[in-house]
């Protein structure tokens, strides 16, 4: 499509597209893994990369490459759950607050702003400490979702506020369109670009937080994710012992993933934003 061709002109989109495709392939590969990620000692330990074990093996006796495929898959799942659920919350809160106004708006925005101000990291540490055993991908995803909607709720609310004043809203109201129908049908198209870019940023945030919590040992470390892989690598002193292949795998994968997600969201929002489009013109 022409849109894709235009987007590929931006080196950032091109880079992120390639990286994300590779990562997606890795995640899918996990379904074909010859090793069970939950078993230990299936291969000889602490071997550097070789033809048989592309990224070497770790101190638990696992092949790092195949471990990484699971890690990538699980991290993506967590972040998708977190991002999608928090989008839903953000949309609901933002739209209700923006459209209703008055006290509903004030209360919702108060809650939203408080969540921005309170150091969420510490709150999540507290919660994670107590639910550690019950932690699985979904639980972690939901936990991140509950805390990740505040910023975007405010953005969506601003959008709704400006749309509310526009002509087509008044027309729709006059023609007796129900509120829900109005909001869903008329406003959603405007919100889509915003929602999409914040979705991607939220995924990035979720993975970052998952990794941070994992390294602090606050998740279920038996489920392979990028964070838990790093946790194990540090636990077994892989830096000190020079086992770079183990510690660098999650770090490098994560670096690429974060940069790719960010570049994707920036290139797409810049493409959609009419103002930056004008700047591209007439150089």
């Amino acid at each position: 499509m022409k849109v894709l061709k235009d987007l590929f002109q931006d080196y950032r989109f091109a880079f992120s597209f390639v990286v994300l495709v590779i990562i997606l392939i890795m995640a899918i590969l996990s379904f074909f893994s010859p090793y069970d990620p939950t078993l230990w000692n299936v291969v000889p330990r602490d071997m550097p990369p070789s033809a048989e074990h592309w990224l070497g093996t770790d101190s638990n006796g696992q092949d790092i490459f195949w471990q990484a495929t699971f890690a990538v898959r699980n991290s993506l799942i967590i972040s998708l759950i977190a991002a999608i659920v928090s989008r839903v919350i953000a949309i609901l809160v933002g739209m209700v607050a923006g459209y209703s106004g008055g006290n509903t708006d004030r209360v919702l925005m108060f809650i939203s702003d408080s969540l921005l101000v309170i150091p969420l990291f510490l709150i999540m540490v507290m919660i994670a400490m107590l639910v550690r055993e019950y932690m699985n991908l979904v639980v972690l995803g939901l936990m991140l979702a509950v805390f990740g909607w505040a910023w975007d709720a405010r953005l969506i609310r601003s959008l709704i506020l400006s749309l509310r004043e526009r002509e087509f809203t008044k027309t729709a109201v006059l023609s007796d369109t129900g509120t829900v129908k109005l909001v869903l049908n008329e406003y959603m198209p405007f919100a889509m670009p915003l929602i999409f870019s914040t979705l991607i940023n939220n995924m990035s945030w979720a993975i970052g937080l998952e990794m941070t919590l994992a390294i602090l040992g606050l998740v279920n470390i038996n489920i392979p994710t990028l964070g838990t892989m790093l946790n194990w690598a540090i636990y077994y002193q892989s830096i000190l012992l020079g086992r770079w292949w183990w510690v660098l795998t999650p770090v490098v994968l994560a670096l690429f993933l974060f940069i790719a997600l960010y570049w994707l969201s920036v290139s797409i929002s810049e493409y959609l934003d009419p103002r930056t489009r004008v700047q591209r013109v007439g150089a």
Partner: protein, 332 residues
């Protein structure tokens, strides 16, 4: 007749836009010839979108992309020498600005730095052109100037948002006259103001012109303002001048069909007939019609109008028209 102070020769300035890969060219100033004289008020009239603002920007030497200078010269007469603005380097141009020629932009309500007091803006303009003036000297200069023009003294200590729209407009005009430039350009200085305030603004412009004996080039679609203050008027349509004469002639004996529509649409005291404006709407400057740009709306169109662009021809001592109807018979 006074000396020429600003001259435009075959001036062409277009906007070149890149929209989804294809180029779009907006012919905003399309072969304009002007001779503006010292000590006069020259009004430029026309509908929205005819290229008036672009012409002003071009005359000011302000070719910011996507606006490009395509062809023609713009000469400032400085100390008897013709200086071509289009070939000046940015540094010289910057020094000329405000000192020789100043600009009152459209929407002057929001042109001042919102976080600084008015006096700071005045000082900035002075100090950028002054020669070693101290901050206090600059402030004194500003104060004296404000008082001379009859504006209240305390506006200098106010922030822009504390002043009314009309007051801000007058402040901007006063600022434009600060360094006593030879030419002042004003773009719709009375639009968006109520009638009472408009009167104050027009009076201010008149006072400035009378006291400093400089040239004011005024763009507005409001013919009433032109009638009030302009010595000569140029009528612009689709990037070109279609008629030019002194004010009395324009109002009393308009020759170009478009000018006639403009004058006829003005309400006259005591006349109760219906006002008629020109039918249709102004052309898309990126997609001009062939021949005379006015021909689709003109009630007197003939074959030649659709094929050839009429030149601006002098038909009497102070009167130029660009219309086959008027000049066609005489010139074949």
């Amino acid at each position: 007749m006074n000396n020429t102070i600003l001259q435009a020769q075959n001036l062409k300035a277009f906007y070149i836009l890149d929209v989804h890969g294809t180029q779009k060219v907006v012919q905003a100033v399309n072969d304009v010839n002007l001779e503006i004289r010292e000590n006069e008020v020259y009004g430029i009239a026309g509908e929205s979108g005819c290229g008036k603002t672009t012409l002003l920007k071009a005359l000011y030497g302000s070719f910011d992309p996507p606006l490009r200078h395509i062809d023609g010269k713009i000469n400032y007469m400085i100390d008897g020498e013709a200086v071509d603005v289009t070939s000046l380097d940015p540094k010289t141009l910057r020094k000329l600005r405000w000192d020789y020629i100043s600009y009152v932009p459209q929407g002057s309500m929001s042109v001042m730095n919102p976080v600084k007091k008015v006096k700071d803006t005045y000082q900035d303009f002075i100090e950028s052109h002054g020669i070693g003036q101290s901050k206090d000297e600059a402030l004194e200069l500003a104060k004296a100037h404000i008082i001379e023009l009859g504006l209240p003294r305390n506006i200098l200590d106010s922030y822009p948002h504390q002043l009314s729209g009309g007051m801000r407009q007058r402040v901007t005009i006063a600022l434009a006259a600060l360094l006593k430039p030879r030419i002042m350009i004003g773009d719709e200085p009375t639009t968006a103001l109520d009638v009472v305030v408009q009167r104050g603004v027009v009076q201010l412009l008149k006072d400035i012109q009378k006291n400093f004996e400089n040239t004011i080039i005024l763009v507005t679609h409001d013919m009433g303002v032109h009638a009030n203050i302009a010595d000569r008027i140029g009528i612009m349509y689709a990037g070109k001048f279609v008629e030019e004469a002194d004010t009395y002639t324009i109002f009393g004996d308009p020759q170009h069909p478009y000018t006639k529509f403009l004058i006829d649409s003005l309400p006259k005291f005591g006349d109760k007939t219906t006002r008629e404006s020109a039918p249709g709407s102004p052309p898309d400057l990126a997609n001009l019609p062939s021949g005379c740009p006015f021909h689709p709306r003109c009630p007197y169109t003939v074959e030649q109008c659709m094929q050839q662009m009429p030149d601006l021809i002098q038909i009497s001592d102070h009167h130029k028209v660009a219309c086959w109807l008027v000049t066609g018979e005489e010139h074949g």
